[in-house]
């Protein structure tokens, strides 16, 4: 009956006059619900399977859940010498690259947002170039140069190539964030007696902090997961977690190893996401932006 009412009212262009409230709510929310279910299947499904595998000691085909649970593979994985050295290396490398990238890109972003200089627009677009073309070819040609400079197989070499990857994100997001801060707000602070440095620290920076932390987080995580550049430049001496995972998965067909390493790889993402969420949501920041 509802459907009939809906159809007829759609046909003559009127809203259904006495369609039950529940049906109306359902119709209105159907796209949202559908999207949520879709998202759950796409995102949560694979994640769930990985989690299950990480804690499965045996899992045979027709069973819906593992046959025996246990932490056996965790012990085995964490006991491996290569993982014990790769994990701190990866975290340290990602942190260092993120810090370096921030040190270079944030002042540049501020300049892009606030100053007018020749070739500003082409320069800004040029950062897109590093991400617009297939990386692999770029890396191979960089590797040739690095080889001559004795950078292949060194930490500096890997850091450098990963740094190139981060430029786009670390310049574009902060540039638009800085542009979003109305100059009049800075002028008002200058007007009441603040120096330019103080205006930047106390007025501009707090207002762009959510965007900056998002850029930092994304940079850290994407660097942590970065495998292509690390593989081509770092091998054989510098082995990061993602590179290690490739080799482990390639050499041993034990699903649990992959699952456990995946979970370990996710860890920094979850920790940082949690931090940022608390930081952006809580207290002054949120109220200030009327969230």
């Amino acid at each position: 009956m509802t459907a009939d009412v809906l159809v007829s009212s759609l046909a003559d262009g009127r809203a259904p006059r006495r369609a039950p409230a529940l049906a109306r709510t359902l119709v209105r929310q159907a796209p949202g619900v559908f999207f949520l279910v879709f998202l759950a299947i796409i995102v949560i499904g694979p994640m769930l399977s990985v989690v299950l595998w990480a804690f499965a000691e045996t899992w045979w085909y027709p069973a819906l859940v593992p046959n025996t649970w246990g932490l056996k593979y965790w012990g085995e994985t964490l006991a491996r010498a290569d993982i014990r050295s790769a994990l701190p290396l990866s975290i340290g490398l990602a942190a260092a690259v993120t810090a370096l990238s921030a040190a270079i890109c944030l002042p540049a972003a501020y300049a892009f947002a606030r100053l007018r200089f020749p070739f500003r627009q082409p320069l800004l677009l040029s950062f897109l170039a590093t991400n617009a073309f297939p990386r692999f070819g770029l890396y191979v040609s960089i590797a040739v140069v690095f080889f001559k400079l004795d950078l292949v197989g060194t930490l500096q070499g890997v850091a450098l190539i990963q740094l190139v990857n981060t430029l786009l994100l670390m310049i574009w997001i902060p540039t638009s964030a800085f542009q979003g801060v109305d100059r009049a707000l800075e002028e008002a602070a200058l007007d009441v007696g603040a120096s330019r440095l103080r205006v930047f620290i106390q007025i501009t920076l707090p207002m762009v902090l959510p965007a900056l932390s998002a850029a930092l987080l994304l940079t850290f995580v994407s660097t942590f997961y970065e495998a292509q550049g690390a593989l081509i430049i770092g091998i054989p001496r510098v082995v990061t977690m993602p590179v290690l995972m490739y080799s482990i998965i390639n050499s041993q067909v034990i699903v649990q190893y992959g699952a456990v390493i995946s979970l370990i790889l996710w860890l920094p993402s979850f920790v940082l996401l949690g931090l940022v969420q608390r930081f952006v949501r809580g207290g002054t920041m949120a109220a200030g932006f009327g969230v």
Partner: protein, 378 residues
């Protein structure tokens, strides 16, 4: 003593003069409005006083000393901007306290000052709110408090109320007026709203295309606009082309007494305020040449009076002007005006502008005793 002096102040943007040789002085405790059409350089002038724009030429002096070399944070001025400029991540109290904190005041004193200034703008109890939780009018009041709390030598306001609706604008204008009366602060207020300027200012500086056209009291600006631009810009004005003929002014078929010493061979303009055009009953004794005959084109009810737009072809030589220029006339509310009705007018007071020079005022002796508009029956 004058608090602010502008001397030949000029600003060029890539060669184009935007503020052109502006000189004026503002006395201690005086409230001066800079009034002018959009793009005439009002904001640029104010921003040069505040230090946000560098002067190309000329000087800005505060208490006799040039401030051109000082950055905005070291000038004794405080600005209220047209845009909402409260810092969104700070509470109202923090916004107001920011400048005081920079001056190293003790905390208890800062708190007291913040409370006082919030009370001054009528927002006591709002100190813990964030700007996003305030209405536009409240935000501008906080911005005013933020500027006043620093006790600046000079308060600068750049159309602070123009983003607000008409009713609120009038209310805030009145509040600002009361505050100014109370604390006697010297202020320069930029606006393009003449009602705002006329009701707030001790003196008004009318600007046009970067130049200062007139600096005078609201009364004088209205009664004796010094240039044709000001005459046209302030209030309602009928501007009529005229020529000098046998010592009299000729406007089409009509003549008017001319001022005594008029330089000859100059385009003349006669300017009459609508309220100086008396609507009279035609009378045989009156010289038909002195009464202007008009035909009502439109009557607009404006509450307590009526504004009438009427054609008066007899006043023009130019046929096109005769058919397009409409006289503006005020009539009492009960005046019975229908489209197409004839009307006789008598100019009681007018200004004669010879070329680009200062006007000469003429008051006509009343021709007949009682011919007020209310007596007319049509």
């Amino acid at each position: 003593m004058s608090t602010l002096e502008l001397i030949g102040l000029t600003k060029r943007f890539s060669g184009r003069p935007v503020v052109n040789d502006v000189s004026l002085s503002v006395a201690d405790g005086e409230f001066v409005c800079i009034l002018g059409p959009s793009g005439c350089g009002k904001s640029t002038t104010l921003r040069m006083i505040g230090g946000f724009e560098e002067a190309t030429q000329g000087d800005v002096r505060i208490d006799g000393a040039s401030v051109l070399d000082l950055p905005p944070n070291r000038r004794p001025t405080a600005m209220v901007f047209q845009k909402y400029t409260l810092w969104p991540h700070m509470r109202v109290a923090e916004n107001i306290a920011f400048g005081l904190g920079l001056r190293g005041l003790p905390r208890t004193e800062i708190e007291r000052e913040v409370k006082q200034s919030l009370a001054l703008v009528g927002l006591s109890g709002y100190d813990r709110r964030y700007p996003a939780q305030l209405s536009g009018g409240e935000q501008q009041r906080v911005a005013l408090a933020r500027a006043l709390v620093l006790k600046p030598k000079l308060l600068l306001l750049d159309e602070p109320f123009s983003n607000l609706d008409a009713l609120l604008r009038v209310r805030l204008r009145e509040e600002l007026h009361a505050i100014q009366r109370r604390i006697q602060i010297t202020a320069v207020f930029v606006t393009h709203d003449q009602e705002e300027a006329l009701s707030l200012a001790d003196r008004i500086a009318v600007m046009n295309a970067g130049r200062l056209e007139q600096l005078d009291t609201p009364d004088q600006i209205y009664a004796r606009p010094r240039t044709l631009f000001v005459a046209d810009f302030i209030g309602q004005m009928n501007l009529l082309p005229a020529t000098l003929e046998d010592g009299r002014l000729r406007l089409g078929r009509h003549v008017l007494p001319a001022p005594e010493r008029l330089p000859g061979n100059m385009p003349l303009t006669v300017a009459v305020r609508p309220e100086d055009l008396a609507v009279v009953a035609p009378n045989r004794e009156t010289d038909p040449g002195t009464l202007w005959q008009a035909r009502i084109d439109q009557a607009i009810d404006l509450g307590h009076y009526r504004k009438i737009l009427a054609f008066a072809p007899g006043l023009f030589v130019d046929a096109q002007a005769a058919g397009t220029v409409r006289l503006k006339i005020y009539a009492p509310k009960h005046f019975n005006a229908r489209e197409g009705d004839p009307l006789w007018l008598r100019p009681d007071r007018y200004l004669v502008y010879p070329g680009g020079m200062a006007p000469i005022e003429i008051r006509q002796p009343l021709v007949a005793a009682d011919h007020s508009a209310s007596a007319i029956v049509m």
